[in-house]
């Protein structure tokens, strides 16, 4: 239910500004993922929300109530940490009930709450164990259970899956999504893994060096990245970029010449570009097709070919040394060292101006 609003939230450590005035609205019951490379400020932003860190400037509201002056426990939030932060000397029951015991709740109430949460997370059998005797996945569930018993308005997750192995990570991803549907509570989830972000989020917040770069639904970010950074960050394998410049403008028709010699014309209703402006062309690996005619064609030599049967990845080097990754659905019999041509269609191009911001292509 809880709606969260950040207004101009800024954080400075000494002289170093790590969050530059973040404005953000998170609707009730949303599953929001903060994603970005390490050091982008996503964890700091989460810690500001939790109250573990105090903002240098700005305001934080939950359901219209200002909370940034309150100590962490009074904000009605619960947090799941990267290392789970289970108290090693306490049993699972003691871990899960600690917050309630600190709050001096009655024994019966505590037993009921912990029992319920343990049931949901299939931890009932493990309540008397110490964290040391649990597997990674079980510890993860205890950490979540510890958050659940407090009936928080908002759940905060700080890279909770990064300590698990790949298989368990996929499983916990699904469990967390189910949990969100079951609890219908706002959840904020921090990760550097864009796959986690794409699969779990209702809304993704992409961050870079203390700034929010774009906020939107996963496919919105994938289809219409606001800038070159988001375009390169979302999607795997990452988008290919080509430098180029505008050579001719005829009404809305812009002729663009890439550094590798490829030329094409596209219609841009945005008229901000002028001749000789630098632009960046972005093409997803799956938008490049080998051996077919298109609006433009790159020539290159394949350096490595990964044939997985259902799909093929081709790593190309162009004559001027650009690296291109091509993702082809299905098998393709190409050897490394072979020279091949790959083509693209204007409709699948992403264009970014001199400031690296998105320029809408109209055809």
């Amino acid at each position: 239910m809880a709606q969260i609003e950040l207004r101009g939230v800024t954080k400075q450590f000494g002289d170093v500004k790590v969050i530059h005035g973040a404005d953000l609205v998170i609707e009730g019951n949303e599953f929001v993922v903060f994603v970005g490379p390490s050091g982008c400020g996503k964890s700091t932003l989460l810690r500001l929300l939790s109250g573990l860190e105090e903002q240098t400037a700005g305001e934080i509201y939950i359901d219209g109530e200002r909370i940034d002056h309150l100590p962490p426990a009074k904000r009605g939030l619960a947090m799941v940490f990267q290392s789970y932060a289970l108290y090693p000397h306490m049993t699972v029951f003691e871990n899960m009930s600690y917050a309630l015991r600190v709050a001096k709740k009655s024994k019966a109430f505590i037993a009921e709450k912990v029992g319920e949460a343990a049931e949901t997370l299939q931890l009932t059998e493990l309540l008397d164990r110490k964290p040391k005797a649990l597997s990674g996945g079980q510890r993860q569930r205890v950490a979540i259970g510890r958050a659940i018993v407090r009936d928080p308005r908002v759940f905060l997750f700080d890279e909770p899956l990064s300590n698990l192995d790949a298989k368990l990570r996929v499983q916990m991803r699904i469990e967390l999504t189910n949990l969100h549907q079951q609890l219908k509570t706002t959840m904020i989830y921090v990760t550097h893994d864009q796959v986690e972000a794409m699969t779990m989020a209702d809304k993704i917040v992409v961050m870079r060096s203390g700034n929010i770069e774009q906020v939107g639904a996963p496919l919105e970010l994938f289809k219409k990245p606001a800038n070159k950074f988001v375009a390169g960050f979302i999607g795997s394998p990452a988008m290919n970029f080509f430098d180029g410049h505008v050579t001719k403008i005829d009404n809305q028709y812009h002729q663009i010449r890439l550094a590798n010699g490829v030329e094409f014309v596209c219609k841009l209703s945005n008229q901000k570009l002028s001749v000789n402006d630098r632009v960046h062309l972005g093409l997803r690996p799956e938008s490049l097709t080998p051996n077919v005619k298109g609006d433009g064609t790159f020539k290159g030599t394949s350096s490595t070919v990964e044939r997985l049967g259902a799909q093929t990845y081709i790593y190309l080097k162009t004559e001027i040394g650009e690296d291109i990754i091509v993702h082809h659905l299905g098998d393709l019999e190409i050897k490394s060292g072979e020279s091949i041509e790959v083509s693209f269609n204007i409709a699948e191009c992403h264009l970014f101006g001199p400031d690296e911001q998105r320029i809408e292509i109209d055809g």
């Binding site: 810690r47 939790s50 573990l52 100590p71 962490p72 426990a73 009074k74 939030l77 619960a78 947090m79 940490f81 990267q82 290392s83 932060a85 108290y87 090693p88 000397h89 600690y98 917050a99 600190v102 709050a103 510890r146 407090r150």
Partner: protein
């Protein structure tokens, strides 16, 4: 390093060298203990023989006729209280230095660290005058104050090392759970460093128990003497009765040796704690 082909010449040489050293370390202690059961006569006539009987006469003399039991009590009081106070306030200070960012943190750390390098023995004159003014000369409290102060830098140093190694997420987690700072320290963090406290405790308790320099200067009256210091006067009194002297030494050595043999791993870790990074 794994054991390699045993039986070659080098391995034999190694065992002879180690065994010989072990014998040299152990034999004097065994001789001391054995001699404590002997009469003067036996000691002179058959010094290397086993005692004729393991009678406890020499120990009875010490127990009944000397102040040695009293010395034991005093040493126990001084060591016990010093180490307890030391661990409490040392851990508190180490906790502040290692878990909080505050202005002057580096200054405070340096203050404690520089304490490591000050040989308090050389300041014995002002210390004497100071304790005299406080009425703490010839008083066990005076010794407790000195030992506590003297051992604080190393304790803070050792505890800081251990406290720094605790993940800050535990603290954050407890904070989210609504625990106060005091509660976080007492219920979450300190229980996790009890092994470190045992190490720091041993590191300090052994030298305090064994010390005789400070009592030599600060304690005069027989009823306040510690065991190490008390032995010196006891040696004056019984200088011709070898059996009793050996018994006194054995008695003084026994408690700490027994604890050491039971807890040798912890003792070794504890006593070398200051020298191993």
């Amino acid at each position: 390093m794994s054991q390699k082909k045993s039986g070659d010449f080098g391995t034999w040489l190694m065992h002879i060298f180690l065994g010989f050293n072990a014998l040299i370390m152990l034999y004097p202690i065994i001789m001391m203990a054995l001699s404590s059961f002997k009469t003067n006569n036996e000691i002179f006539s058959a010094p290397f023989a086993l005692p004729k009987s393991f009678n406890l006469d020499n120990f009875a003399v010490i127990w009944n006729e000397t102040d040695v039991p009293r010395y034991f009590l005093n040493s126990t009081i001084v060591t016990g209280i010093s180490v307890f106070v030391l661990l409490v306030i040392g851990t508190m200070a180490a906790y502040a230095v290692s878990r909080y960012k505050f202005r002057g943190n580096i200054m405070v750390s340096l203050f404690f660290l520089s304490g490591l390098m000050l040989p308090l023995r050389l300041a014995i004159i002002p210390l004497f005058i100071q304790l005299k003014a406080l009425g703490l000369v010839d008083n066990l409290i005076g010794l407790i104050c000195i030992y506590t102060a003297m051992s604080l830098p190393a304790t803070v140093f050792i505890m800081t090392g251990f406290l720094r190694s605790l993940p800050s997420e535990l603290e954050d987690s407890a904070r989210m759970d609504g625990a106060s700072e005091l509660r976080i320290m007492v219920q979450i963090m300190v229980p996790l460093i009890t092994p470190a406290m045992v190490i720091a405790g041993i590191y300090n308790a052994v030298p305090i128990w064994n010390d005789f320099f400070f009592p030599l200067i600060f304690i005069q009256s027989p009823e306040s003497r510690t065991i190490a210091q008390g032995l010196t006067s006891f040696f004056g009194e019984y200088s011709v009765n070898y059996g009793v002297l050996y018994a006194g030494l054995t008695m003084a050595a026994l408690p700490i040796m027994v604890i050491f043999i039971i807890q040798s791993k912890r003792f070794i870790a504890g006593m070398t704690a200051g020298a191993i990074k």
